[in-house]
Amino acid sequence: MLKVEGLHVYYGAIHALKDISFEVREKEIVTLIGANGAGKTTTLHAVSGLLSPKAGSIRLDGHDLMKTPAEKIVGLGLAQVPEGRRVFARMSVHENLMMGAYLRKDKAAVEADLERMYGKFPRLRERSKQLAGTMSGGEQQMLAIARALMSKPKLLLMDEPSMGLAPILVDEIFKIIQEINEMGTTVLLVEQNAHKALAIAHRAYVLETGKVLMEGDAKTLLDDERVKHAYLG
């Protein structure tokens, strides 16, 4: 589904991604784990078009994403839950969700999806008129996820969805990711919480200073001594 090969990204003189290659297959949860500064978020931004890589190729179902401007990528079935949620703080919950469906023209189906989101996240229904900026971190994260799902993505990119949340909410978020995946959406998950990410993922890539250090089956990596030592404590 998503195939990234030989990706190089520079921030000025800093070589942030050095020859990153990975793949996400249909119906999978794939996670990129690694320490701060390993290049996880940079990789996601390259995929969703928020920055332009120097070299490499990114293909989604045969579409060349390197040549696609960021605002067209969501139309190809790729949505992103950005780091730090980035909900539209001065818009209501309902408006935020509708922003997720910005490109969709199938009004009836959008309404049905909206209803589904409210069914899945009852908190959002209760607060549909409230401004997103006034909600708690956990609620905003739910909203960011629901907003991304409103675009009806085939592939959902999630950047640190558990960041800054209370432990009980972290568990809930991971449960939600699993449910989203079971409903048929492929997920590419970037997480610092390697333990929880590996527990729900099918496959994983370990990044370190801009390179892929290890890759493989998530359960195998979870038991790997080096991974345990470096990331799982």
Partner: protein, 292 residues
């Protein structure tokens, strides 16, 4: 009492013009964080278009207004494309200096083309003022207030209910997140310049009719006052620009009526200083704290 009401009406008249112009400043600031100092000159261009449409082409007022709005909108988009877009990722001061450059460019181009002498704007609504007791309400005042009000309501509807309006709000809040929603950020910015400039053109025409003339530097004063209005209301906040416009109009009018005409500008600009010292975010400035 009569004088008080009379000044109030005058204040609403100029205030609604300032409000229209202030909207252009605040919309552009809200979306690209740029004080577009060329905005005052766009209203001058709009006034000239209106002037020629009314005099040389003998068009009715409505068509002249429409022509001015369309041409100013195109001009606003062109300025953004040529002057500001290449500087989108440059330090903000670069774009600000460029805006001053564009302003001088427009003023001097128009001076070159049409001369520095003011031309007489035709009196479009030259009918007898309406007399209510001792009050004199010129029809132009009523038309100015109604037309400005209609533009503001129209803008509010566009921003609240249309897809373009939602895109504008999205981009002004978080342009990266907006991109992720599939919003074309460049196009949204372009539309914002177009709408702001069209409103500026309406303001320019009403201003030039109110003061009976057009000249290449006419945009400066109302432009600066509208800028003060936008800052007073809270730069980037649309209702703030409207409120600020009316407050500035009122202050100006009451100063002229009760104190002295010569003091009016000084007092208006000292409001800018006071706002910047005591409440830089303006009356309706945003206080929403972002959660991390």
């Amino acid at each position: 009492m009569t004088q008080f009401i009379q000044q109030m009406i005058n204040g609403l008249h100029v205030g609604s013009i300032y409000a229209l112009i202030a909207l252009g400043y605040t919309m552009v600031y809200g979306i690209v964080k740029l004080i577009n100092f060329a905005h005052g000159d766009i209203l001058m261009v709009g006034a000239y278009v209106g002037f020629f449409a009314l005099t040389a082409f003998n068009l009715p007022f409505g068509l002249a207004l429409l022509a001015a709005m369309v041409l100013s909108a195109l001009l606003g988009m062109a300025i953004d494309k040529v002057a500001y877009k290449p500087l989108r990722n440059a330090p903000r001061i670069s774009a600000l200096i460029t805006a001053l450059g564009v302003s001088m460019f427009l003023q001097n181009t128009f001076r070159l083309l049409f001369g520095a002498n003011p031309r007489k704007m035709p009196a479009v609504f030259n009918v007898q003022p309406i007399l209510l007791g001792d009050l004199r309400i010129p029809p132009l005042t009523i038309i100015t207030i109604l037309l400005s009000g209609a533009c503001m309501v129209g803008l509010e509807l566009i921003i609240r209910f249309t897809k373009t309006g939602k895109a504008m709000r999205g981009v002004s809040e978080d342009s990266k997140a907006a991109k992720l929603m599939g919003i074309n950020v460049d196009r949204t910015i372009s539309i914002t310049f177009a709408i702001g400039s069209a409103l500026g053109a309406v303001g320019g025409i009403l201003y030039s009719i109110s003061y009976y003339q057009v000249e290449p530097y006419m945009g400066m004063m109302p432009g600066l006052k509208a800028f003060v209005a936008a800052v007073l209301g809270g730069i980037g906040v649309i209702p703030g620009a409207m409120l600020g416009g009316f407050v500035i109009g009122g202050v100006e009018s009451f100063t002229k009526g009760y104190l002295s005409t010569t003091w009016a500008d000084a007092i208006v600009f000292s409001i800018l200083i006071l706002v910047l010292v005591f409440k830089p975010s303006g009356i309706l400035g945003k206080n929403t704290k972002e959660k991390v």
